[in-house]
Amino acid sequence: MTSSILVRWLGRVPYREAIALQESLVDAVRRGEASDHLLLLEHPEVITLGRGADPLHVLLSAEEGARRGIEIHETGRGGDVTYHGPGQLVGYPIVSLRGERRDARRYLREIEEALILAVADHGIRADRIPGLTGIWSGEQKLAAIGVRISTGWITSHGFALNVSTDLSGFRFIVPCGIRDRGVTSMERILGRGVAILDAAARVATRLAERLSLRAVPSPAAEERLFSMAVEACP
């Protein structure tokens, strides 16, 4: 029997809260008290610096940040600087990697593959660029990836897929330290709106497939909305 990954849609969650939730889940998964989880959410505008981050890649002035209410956080994931904001689907898989899957690079590739398949489900062709993590539409970055692996091969952090993100927020950073390539969103590529819950449902399905896990929607009542594949109506 395949083990399950509990998929939760959390709505808009402040960065700090999402970190705390991930930390407690990582502990619970390690102790075997929780199944694998996939947290899907949006963040209010925030800039985060991975362990490998160059502070010079944050272009936001302190005054502008304060004026716009954008926080800056240092965080324990891999990777450089990134920007999160409404319309961006953020996914944090808290997964206990086992057996052959205990391979950091393989795990990154699985996330990339899941995202490529999920956006393909929406009719978007995206690719990898060798040597760069994330997924790309042409020369433009569609999703960023940064992962942490804790004791016992428990994953946290994850990916940020621009669904309908206001891309102007990215002007405050040099995304992942890459200056010569832009960012894009599913909405911009398709020229029409994409509901973040639709994108979330596809990503959940695809990621579970790639990780050979059985996706189980959260039974929490407020999330059933998502679990019934909603927002189908105009």
Binding site: M1, R30, R102, A220, R224, A232
Partner: protein, 432 residues
Amino acid sequence: MRVDVIMPQMGESIAEGTITRWMKKVGDTVQRDEPLFEISTDKVDAEIPSPSAGTLLEIRNREGETVPVSQVVGVIETDASAAASGPATPESPKPAAAPKAPAAAPARPTQEPERAPAAPASSAAPTPPGRSSEQGAPFLSPVVRRIAEEQGVDPTRVPGTGAGGRVTKKDILDFIAREGAAAPPAAAGIASTPSTPTFAAGERVKRVPMSPMRKKIAEHMVESRRTSAHVHSVFEVDMSRVSKLREKYRGAYEERHGVKLTFLPFFIKSACEALRAWPVLNSSVEGEESVYRRELNIGIAVALDWGLIVPVVKHADELSVAGLARKVNDLADRARTKKLNPDEVAGGTFTITNPGVFGGLFGLPIIHQPQVAILGVGGIQRRPVVIDDAIAIRPMVYLSMSYDHRVVDGAIADQFLAQVKRSLESFDESLL
């Protein structure tokens, strides 16, 4: 005893890692499996647990240094008295960050598979380019080691093309393809395995006892198949009206009733009406008698990460849509937090389940005994449909029902479903 701390193999194609943080200083005591240092490879940051309990005697590579896999980066003295006599190297790194390791890392001395894979402690230096089989066991990734063991191949015979001459998975697979395996291949082969169990080297099967809940589910399902003559009908329903009503009342529900208005209460409400019209679907079979139930107690299948449970909405027909929404939310919440009372999962007379969550069109569920029918609600999807000779896009859902042919014939089941469909497609706004 001195134990080497080595740069672990974080993946087959990963040859080195950069130390980003030491959580311990030289002289600090450390528990086995307590986070000792952090490394960075690619876009992955990893926390590396200590290989054993003791005192950190030596740090050979500081923060910021990039080190090949399996190189010794530090040394731990497991014997307390020896450690007290002083560190081997007085050099200690700048304590850049205060150790933020969790105060009491769970000590779990016996659970080998949970630890990050450690390379053999004997290989003190990275394997030099070229072959190195003469100097003891070459470094092998766990995958390669497993394949070698399963296939009975001596890994030192395999030419390595990986970083530092290491044998990669591809190398060993190519080698086996070329030379053949010494032993017959394992039955399951070496294709990527589903993730659940961790197999020890050489282990071909793993027996895991079922949880009590799993056993219950298994018993119930098989018993139901044995008891009832399952038949299935599938209907398609246009959810436009329900979607619009839900959209219209959603805000008000949240404000007035403090509850999110989901689709489920609509399905329950419509099913209740139809159950009143076709009471045999709300019955059960005892011996050679049909037992009809006056109460409509609707079970709602709730998936949990540890199984499945069916809490029951008692007297569902007496509740308003808001009442149903609140009740369902409450039951699902308490199911998840294991706070249901035993009587809240008993006494159901009909069940609704939700097989369409991940894009499935419909499912054919197994009847929850001693009931005689179970309704499956598929995923709601926008699909092209023909309306008055025109093609329109409508939110559609498949309703599937499994029923017991001992007492319910297809004609009855289909009329029941037709009524549920009618009731959803022309949902009575006054019920909201």
